[in-house]
Symmetry: D2
Subunit: 407 residues, 4 copies
Amino acid sequence: MQYDISDITLAQAGQEKIEWVSKWMKVVNGLYEKFKNDGVFSGKKIAICIHLEAKTAYLALTIQRLGAEVWITSSNPLSTKDDVCATLVKNGIHVFAKHGVSKEEYAGFVRTIVESKPDIVVDDGGDICEYLHQYPKYAVNLKGICEETTSGVNRLKELEKKGKLRYPAIGINDAQSKYLFDNRYGTGQSTWTAITHLTNMSVAGKVVVIVGYGWVGRGVALRALGMGAEVIVTEIDPWKGLEARMDGYRVMPINKAAALGDIFITATGERMVIRTEHMKNMKDGAFLANAGHFDYEIDVPGLKEISKIATHVREEIDEYIIKKNKKIYLLAQGGIINIAGGFGHPIEILDLSFALQLASIHYILSTTDLEPKFYCVPKDIDEMIVRERLKVDGIEIDKDNRYKYSI
Amino acid sequence: MQYDISDITLAQAGQEKIEWVSKWMKVVNGLYEKFKNDGVFSGKKIAICIHLEAKTAYLALTIQRLGAEVWITSSNPLSTKDDVCATLVKNGIHVFAKHGVSKEEYAGFVRTIVESKPDIVVDDGGDICEYLHQYPKYAVNLKGICEETTSGVNRLKELEKKGKLRYPAIGINDAQSKYLFDNRYGTGQSTWTAITHLTNMSVAGKVVVIVGYGWVGRGVALRALGMGAEVIVTEIDPWKGLEARMDGYRVMPINKAAALGDIFITATGERMVIRTEHMKNMKDGAFLANAGHFDYEIDVPGLKEISKIATHVREEIDEYIIKKNKKIYLLAQGGIINIAGGFGHPIEILDLSFALQLASIHYILSTTDLEPKFYCVPKDIDEMIVRERLKVDGIEIDKDNRYKYSI
Amino acid sequence: MQYDISDITLAQAGQEKIEWVSKWMKVVNGLYEKFKNDGVFSGKKIAICIHLEAKTAYLALTIQRLGAEVWITSSNPLSTKDDVCATLVKNGIHVFAKHGVSKEEYAGFVRTIVESKPDIVVDDGGDICEYLHQYPKYAVNLKGICEETTSGVNRLKELEKKGKLRYPAIGINDAQSKYLFDNRYGTGQSTWTAITHLTNMSVAGKVVVIVGYGWVGRGVALRALGMGAEVIVTEIDPWKGLEARMDGYRVMPINKAAALGDIFITATGERMVIRTEHMKNMKDGAFLANAGHFDYEIDVPGLKEISKIATHVREEIDEYIIKKNKKIYLLAQGGIINIAGGFGHPIEILDLSFALQLASIHYILSTTDLEPKFYCVPKDIDEMIVRERLKVDGIEIDKDNRYKYSI
Amino acid sequence: MQYDISDITLAQAGQEKIEWVSKWMKVVNGLYEKFKNDGVFSGKKIAICIHLEAKTAYLALTIQRLGAEVWITSSNPLSTKDDVCATLVKNGIHVFAKHGVSKEEYAGFVRTIVESKPDIVVDDGGDICEYLHQYPKYAVNLKGICEETTSGVNRLKELEKKGKLRYPAIGINDAQSKYLFDNRYGTGQSTWTAITHLTNMSVAGKVVVIVGYGWVGRGVALRALGMGAEVIVTEIDPWKGLEARMDGYRVMPINKAAALGDIFITATGERMVIRTEHMKNMKDGAFLANAGHFDYEIDVPGLKEISKIATHVREEIDEYIIKKNKKIYLLAQGGIINIAGGFGHPIEILDLSFALQLASIHYILSTTDLEPKFYCVPKDIDEMIVRERLKVDGIEIDKDNRYKYSI
């Protein structure tokens, strides 16, 4: 068995975390019961590249229990949890991941995963997909790709448009059971758990500036309001800006908000939205955090440049002294705050996403004639997943189809 | 000059209402300034069929001031305000509308409007459009149709799909400046103003059942929560049902909610969603109201049938005694509660919708080669409207296009 | 029978309103059942001076049905509803009240009530009480006074402290069943019903300035937040100011808030809290409303003085033009907005207060040895009332006294 | 120098935590500046018994920097942080505290502290005070006692009533700057940080049962609502029960709520409010947590008794299997959830409380003629503290005393 991890002796700690997760990923567990005897996964090879923490580990173990061989790495060296990796290895899964490795090492891990010649690839951002298009020799067994994120989906659509997509690919993120829930409710809550846990500070009475009022921004803003903050939203889309205003928030450009905020949270998906020109106008003691997918929304290199002194003052908190009486606190080095500063999405939210992954893999493996195109998660799979979630949560909705709500 | 209204002596009262409205329809006023010298409306004939209250009257007067001749009726006999009609006649507008007329009389009004051979028709639900397709002789001057509602838009799309649409038509409702705002924020607020004004009762401490969690239902639920109600949502769409749950509401089928609610509000766009089987299980003293577009969401004929006694007990409140200790109160006879029990949408909200109308009419009149197809409001018009609203409200958003928020 | 009212022909309209109220004043109705056979009210004379609208009328009728003779006036000429007065006269109650009378006429009405030599006086603000201390000859039968308001209670306590209180007096306002509910939930809701009904404008997206963060201010602020407003609080008490901040509101002095607000609402109980120096800094189109008990919180005379033109533009809305592009809209002439612009407190809320009145009158009449002191509503009466309300609302609480919650 | 702690090598970790805290305890820091040259603390001995975590440590260090000698223990073995203890020892403070010691050892620590014959005692619950009354020989230098908690204050008042209070005592908890803020905003937020961090689960969509609607219960309920939970409140006080209902929550007895809740949180200050008869009716997978001061609100011994298996499954989470498909999860062993599962109150909140402590000690030391009575924190000290907090938070309130808000 092949693997490359940090420390196999951490397996016990990882085991406890995975077991906790296993209790609450009930939709995934329900799918396991549904699939366990149909043999669809038997003898297949599945390569996975997702933030490697306990929930992802449990997805991997479930796929393995269904009869497949799993090769796994993380989609980000900083989100890799070494204890969980150890547990997976103990359970016979091929893990290539270590917390905090260099870009080169990380790229090597991705290559190793791909070179296992998988039947299915679970991708997160599109790196594996790109590699497979470059080295089609590793795609000899490939039946399809399941892509987790918006940015990966965009790359797939681009490829398809150019006529260059060679393999069937399913965009998990476009399923209603995912995008309606994980960003708003998942990131919305876990961002605040992370910030309050890391800082031990009060949100009530603070001015919170939300940069971007998409799904993530809405969720983070709503929870800030619910915790007693004054919320300011910055936007460039005029309709979203007006929505934010009608939701009760102050709306203004980032260069004005800069001087008012106590806590700034980016949620745009775009580069460098908080820049040094803003930082220079901030109050002494302002906090910066990023809730978007990538770690480039805050101009961290710029922050370092304009700072006289930088000190690591507490777990995931760095203090930058720009001048006398002007300190800025950067959380989680500008990485995704809810993963770096906590355990990521609440379990029940990722349960939905990973159930979509599991069902989509099953769909690809059991469908024979998929063309090399971009697919949405089939509507009936999407609906099955949400209905399972309603069932495990004990939520009843009307079955009567004499009417359908639409206003 | 031709017209047919109830009482010309009411003009003064109507005048005051329209003047009030004119102060706050600032986006419409801005467009008037923009258009007033370009002559596009000069000598044109515009036929309008929308709920005829003060805001609609002001739209008509604005169109007239821009140089057009206006023929107008209401889209619903119950929403016609006789005083406003009188004011319009005094100002030289051709009004054919009376509060509470029969279906036949109403149909006659619509015909009269159409037979003026208008250049543009502003429709609300699609009745005029249908009539014009039946009697194309009245469409000799027709340049296009502007349709206000979802249901009218659906009929237009249907016609187009069948290849039977003969005139260019713009669906106002599909513009972001309309659907993102009027149902959620407009109906959300005005439904509660109407209910609390009509009943003089407390919302705090009540169980409010929202039937349907679309835009309207969300708005009405959010405002109920904000007033201290316990909110129950019924839905048939599983994703909307789960969203309602994640928003903190109880979610259950209508037949269970029936026994728990103090106030029931329908928002589905569908027929007969609250039926006698539900009414029989309601608490003594339950209230029924409809916030959807049509007046058939509550089974009012059924309610009458199962009642021993029906009494009009207060403005827009009827008491139905089903049996001893089981009374049900129907608000506004099951018609649209925020119009029947108040003044409809807040002025600033309808300002957005009517600005879209005004700009769309201008667009049709100044565009020469429009084919007989269904069109959305052009994106740049939609954006101009929302940017005007931001400006009059003093809301600033970022202009920096180095990033665009999207998560 | 003696009375002095505006128009006896309005009795039918008043009847409908009182009947509506009678359906929902369930705690009062429960007390009626409890008291109806004990004869305590028989032959007694009760003088009442409270805002004379439908709910007060129903209290009077209930007292009459219990066997007493009722003499009634209003505590404010502007809050008198003439139709309701007519109905009371039709039912044999001695009414001395007309909408909009002069101060002198109003004072005459109060005197007439007092000169009936009542057994019990129900007072609202302390005017009757003062008159009785001046003319003790009218107090020959007097068993006690029930005072509704904070300000009346303060005058009573003052009298007692000086050793000048000659009659037993109960302060209704100090009962938990009143002060915990009527200002926060009653005024909180009804203020917004009145404002949105009168103006037909959106609260979402507006800046609402709440002057004073006591019970009333908290209620009005909370409901503004719940309707999508941005809320600014001004205070002079530092703890309340910090509480407002921790509740998520912006907190600043009134002279800063003046330039930011769209809608200003006073809730201080003090004189002239919004003055001309603030008005001069307001935005064009600002609205002023008063939710406090007295009509002097806004400096209306000052407003008139600094205005070039004043116009009545809509029911209960006056427009003051201070200079070009600076208009201020005063609601309800600065009187109590929820009464002047609507129907006052929600019925269920006043039901609690009037049940306290009814039970307190009963207590005084059936207690023989009350000394001339100030009393709180006896704890067991206060508790009986709240428990009745819980019962009619179907709210169950724990009966288990093994623990008592206190943190 | 005397001390008894677990591990001196942990001092570095504790140092970092205390330094973080020192940045945000700005009111305490302001008092330090005010007091540092007046010599009041010089040569005095202060004995402190409060939950010994970073914020308490910073209070101790501040007192030391003001010239006093500090002897300190924790008020609870489970809340003692060993790293912080080590840091204090390194700084020359006499620490007697170890995490997780037995009751006997803990009692010994308290005795040691007392036997230092302190000038001032800072007590938390009244244990030291009791000991001093038993052994007055250790009180030879005693100038006064500062008591942090409600329960300690109650014991002091009891002593005073019986005429047995021998020393001046100040009840910190009765100061507005404390009780208006720490329970509602402090516990309200930190309870949820702890629960979401420990469980990694979603609050949105859950049924949260709050047992007790006092200050703590209100705060915890409000934040649950703000995070998307459905909230049920149980109460025995009828007014609080009705308030909870008017705030939008469902209100019912605990034995009914037992079957509905996903997460139960006690906040009563009373013993055994969640008992085995309730646990037996709970859903499979219910969580129990305690936000009250003492660890006896949940019947943990009873839970152990009715369980077949008990397993520690994750940090601060124990799983109790009562029968097949009936698991209950106990958080933090029933201890105070926000301390055991996190870092306790947000820093800014405890800053207020500890500033009150510091100023009260200063007041006792600089006042010569204090009688052995129970005192509230002097109003001007209370007001100074809240005004300092307003200042450091940049919150401005009106200074104009022409009016005072009171409604």
